[in-house]
């Protein structure tokens, strides 16, 4: 994939160039490119003066980071406890069947990504699905089709 990496410098300039800024920098990169491109990790290692292995270790430790490109529409199904007992798995299953990918994967045309998240703090509205940052509460199995259109 081709990216415009000129944004990286802006991100680096926002933080002190110390190892302590690593997570914040990665979060901003992730926000910009919707994943962590390999080149960006190398640059981060160089600029913050952290070994690349450590950058890799941090990027794989935290759930918020993805090392593969994510789709235009990221559908995050909450599988927290409340959503779980209120049927989140059925919704997840339905989405996986409709898009023919598993949770954590992206469709080949880079249109959709399905992710799971353990509780987003809207449990009273369970089951909850978040489509690119927009919360939807009380989602039903039959809503899955609309979410993938």
């Amino acid at each position: 994939m081709k990216h415009d990496f000129s944004k990286l410098q802006e991100i680096f300039d926002k933080y002190p160039k110390t190892p302590q800024s690593l997570i914040s920098v990665l979060q901003d990169i992730h926000k910009e490119y919707r994943y962590l491109p390999c080149h960006a990790l190398e640059e981060t290692a160089r600029v913050l003066d952290v070994p690349l292995s450590k950058v890799f270790s941090v990027s794989t430790f935290y759930n918020a980071f993805s090392l593969t490109p994510r789709g235009e529409r990221v559908i995050r199904v909450c599988t927290g406890t409340t959503c779980h007992i209120r049927g989140a798995n059925q919704i997840l299953h339905q989405l996986e069947e409709l898009l023919n990918i598993k949770a954590g994967e992206t469709t080949e045309d880079l249109k959709f990504t399905i992710e799971v998240v353990a509780c987003v703090g809207a449990c009273s509205m369970a089951p909850v699905v978040i489509v690119n940052d927009e919360f939807r509460g009380g989602v039903k199995v039959s809503d899955a089709k609309r979410l993938t259109k």
């Binding site: 914040s24 935290y62 406890t81 987003v120 449990c123």
Partner: protein
């Protein structure tokens, strides 16, 4: 606007009160997480749009507020008209004009939007008359729902930063610690460690600098109290942190917020900026010679980072792996310096304790667990939401009086507290008075305050399996007992849920649990077997049904159930057929549908969509 002295703060307070009292009527649109998920933002935008166009005597768009979580999430979006406390539920865009014309311009109440008491079928006008609110006592959540989400002037009008001024100008650091000790406040993050003692230990260590950290990671699935506080009233947390920093001599603090809570990140940052602008953070606060500032650190979505030593690693930009417990954070915490780390709700209680006195706080709750506790009451409960009750309130009062009982009048089965470290308690424990010690004795845990109610459609084996799978995912992998032990425990739970296990496997699981509890490095592993241990303690019969009879009585475990369509109830509406991803259902419109058992993968989608209760699980 810089406040330089306590007197200036009092003067400003008068101005702020005058500002909030300018309009006699106020409209509060709840923009808490629950209401937002139901479309509250659109309702709020509609209010703004219409109010800007309309001219109403004694009212203006300024008197409309977007508040934090009002609590009664199940009924959202909520709109409250103060000071009458008129309480409108499930408000839609289409209702906005009517509310403005009838209840704001005039004094009429719109019956249709009021809450109906399910027991008496009567409409209730004021929220304070609704059982859900009547039985609560709000300290940590005192301001939420009564002011704009994060507005320092409104916070000051509600006595905000008064406790800070009192601490800095009238009390010595030791007096502050003494007051917090007297209050008996115990940490609200789960473990219940006495807050005053923690501060005292840190204050006396002669190794500088000291740090103060607020734990806003709130990783327990099913809990959202800290989110509500950080979004709805971030200043109370910041005030608590400044007071703590003054007490222990810290000049730098961090708020660690989960990144799954984007609005909390924004609001905390906004509140910090406001406090700085007003001179309540920064150098020489209120001319006391005391300097303090706060930075926000965003978490990366790892549950283990809620653990204090892992959190500190994460703040330092590293992988969040915990370390052994005997190294204490008050001695060697962030950057190996003495650190006080407290939970969001713990900090939110501090200003009230300083203002009203430790003795006052200690008079609420039970002798060993003082004060109140916020809970997120969710799951299969009728009136779920955010609540705060005095410690010592029974589970029955919480679930039945406040929560209104079980959804759809189904039988109660269990209540889960303490998240993945806690456990499930059965109905024989409903009269338990909720505090730190009783819950632990009963095999569960207070945790951070998630309270998930389960009915007879919830399978305890499935719940145990669910938590174990969560913990296997979230275990950082540093120590073997947790990494491998939980993995095996989960594998055995899966075997039970699939009908492949023997009774000996249960013994194995119990032994394994004991080993994990003893051998794990941090609280994640140490309490990891709890969901299994508590369910096997109270629901052994249900485990045996899976093992001996190969049946899941709750109808949840896929391998042990089948779905059938009942001929006498099916009207051939085709709803089930159209959601079945396996194409396992056949039938024509208006005719009986049939499930092909060979194709069915038991996903339950048909059961979920059937409106005629025609699908049976056996």
């Amino acid at each position: 606007m810089m406040i330089k002295t306590a007197q200036q703060l009092e003067k400003l307070r008068k101005e702020c009160i005058a500002e909030t009292d300018k309009y006699p009527k106020k409209v509060m649109v709840c923009c808490g997480p629950g209401c937002l998920a139901n479309g509250a933002q659109k309702v709020s935008d509609e209010f703004k749009k219409q109010l800007k166009k309309k001219r109403i005597k004694g009212f203006s768009v300024e008197a409309m507020k977007e508040t934090g979580c009002h609590g009664f999430c199940e009924m959202g979006p909520l709109v409250v008209i103060e000071p009458d406390q008129t309480f409108y539920t499930k408000v839609k865009i289409g209702d906005v004009e009517e509310i403005i014309e009838e209840s704001i311009r005039k004094e009429n109440v719109i019956e249709r939007l009021l809450y109906t008491d399910p027991n008496t079928d009567k409409k209730i006008e004021k929220y304070s008359d609704i059982d859900f609110y009547a039985k609560q006592e709000r300290i940590a959540l005192r301001n939420i729902g009564h002011m704009n989400q994060c507005d320092i002037r409104e916070y000051i009008a509600l006595d905000g930063y008064k406790a800070l001024a009192k601490s800095l100008t009238k009390m010595k650091p030791d007096d502050v610690i003494e007051e917090v000790k007297k209050s008996g406040l115990r940490g609200r993050g789960g473990a219940g460690f006495p807050t005053g003692r923690k501060w005292a230990q840190c204050a006396k260590i002669d190794d500088w600098p000291h740090y103060v950290i607020c734990n806003g990671d709130e990783g327990d699935p099913g809990a959202f109290m800290d989110r509500a506080i950080m979004e709805g009233d971030p200043h109370s947390v910041i005030e608590g942190m400044i007071i703590a920093a003054y007490a222990v001599g810290a000049h730098e603090g961090y708020v660690y917020v989960r990144e799954e809570y984007p609005l909390a990140v924004v609001n905390i940052q906004k509140a910090i900026d406001q406090a700085r602008e007003y001179g309540l953070l920064g150098a020489n606060i209120l001319k006391s010679g005391f300097d303090f500032d706060i930075k926000v650190s965003r978490g990366g979505g790892a549950f283990v980072c809620g653990e204090s030593s892992a959190l500190m690693k994460s703040v330092a930009g590293e992988v969040g792996e915990p370390r052994a417990k005997y190294i204490r954070s008050v001695v060697k915490g962030l950057f190996d310096k003495p650190t006080v780390l407290n939970n969001v709700e713990s900090f939110a209680n501090v200003p009230v304790i300083i203002s009203k006195g430790g003795k006052w706080f200690a008079g609420i709750g039970t002798p060993k667990s003082t004060g109140t506790k916020a809970f997120s009451l969710v799951g299969k409960v009728r009136n779920g939401g955010l609540i705060e009750v005095p410690m010592g309130t029974t589970l029955r009062e919480i679930i039945y009086d406040i929560g209104g009982g079980i959804l759809d009048n189904r039988p109660f089965k269990a209540v889960q507290t303490g998240g993945p470290s806690g456990g499930c308690l059965p109905d024989s424990k409903l009269d338990l008075e909720v505090d730190f010690d009783t819950l632990t004795e009963a095999g569960s845990m207070m945790g951070s305050g998630g309270m998930i109610v389960m009915d007879d459609h919830t399978c305890v084996v499935d719940v145990a399996k669910y938590f174990l799978s969560f913990l296997v995912d979230e275990s950082c992998g540093k120590c073997v007992p947790c990494r491998e032990g939980l993995y095996q425990l989960h594998a055995l739970a899966v075997a039970i849920s699939e009908g492949r296990a023997t009774e000996e496997d249960l013994d194995k699981m119990e032994q394994l649990s004991e080993m994990i509890v003893i051998g794990s490095l941090c609280g994640l592993g140490k309490s990891g077997p709890n969901p299994f241990l508590s369910t096997i303690r109270y629901f052994r019969e249900e485990y045996l049904a899976h093992i001996r009879d190969k049946k899941c009585p709750a109808g949840v475990c896929r391998e042990l159930i089948r779905y059938d369509i009942m001929a006498d109830k099916c009207d051939g509406c085709m709803a089930c057929l159209s959601v079945c991803a396996q194409h396992a259902i056949t039938g024509k419109k208006g005719e009986l549908h049939i499930i092909n058992q060979d194709k069915c993968d038991k996903c339950g989608a048909c059961y979920a969509v059937c409106t005629r209760d025609a699908i049976e699980i056996t």
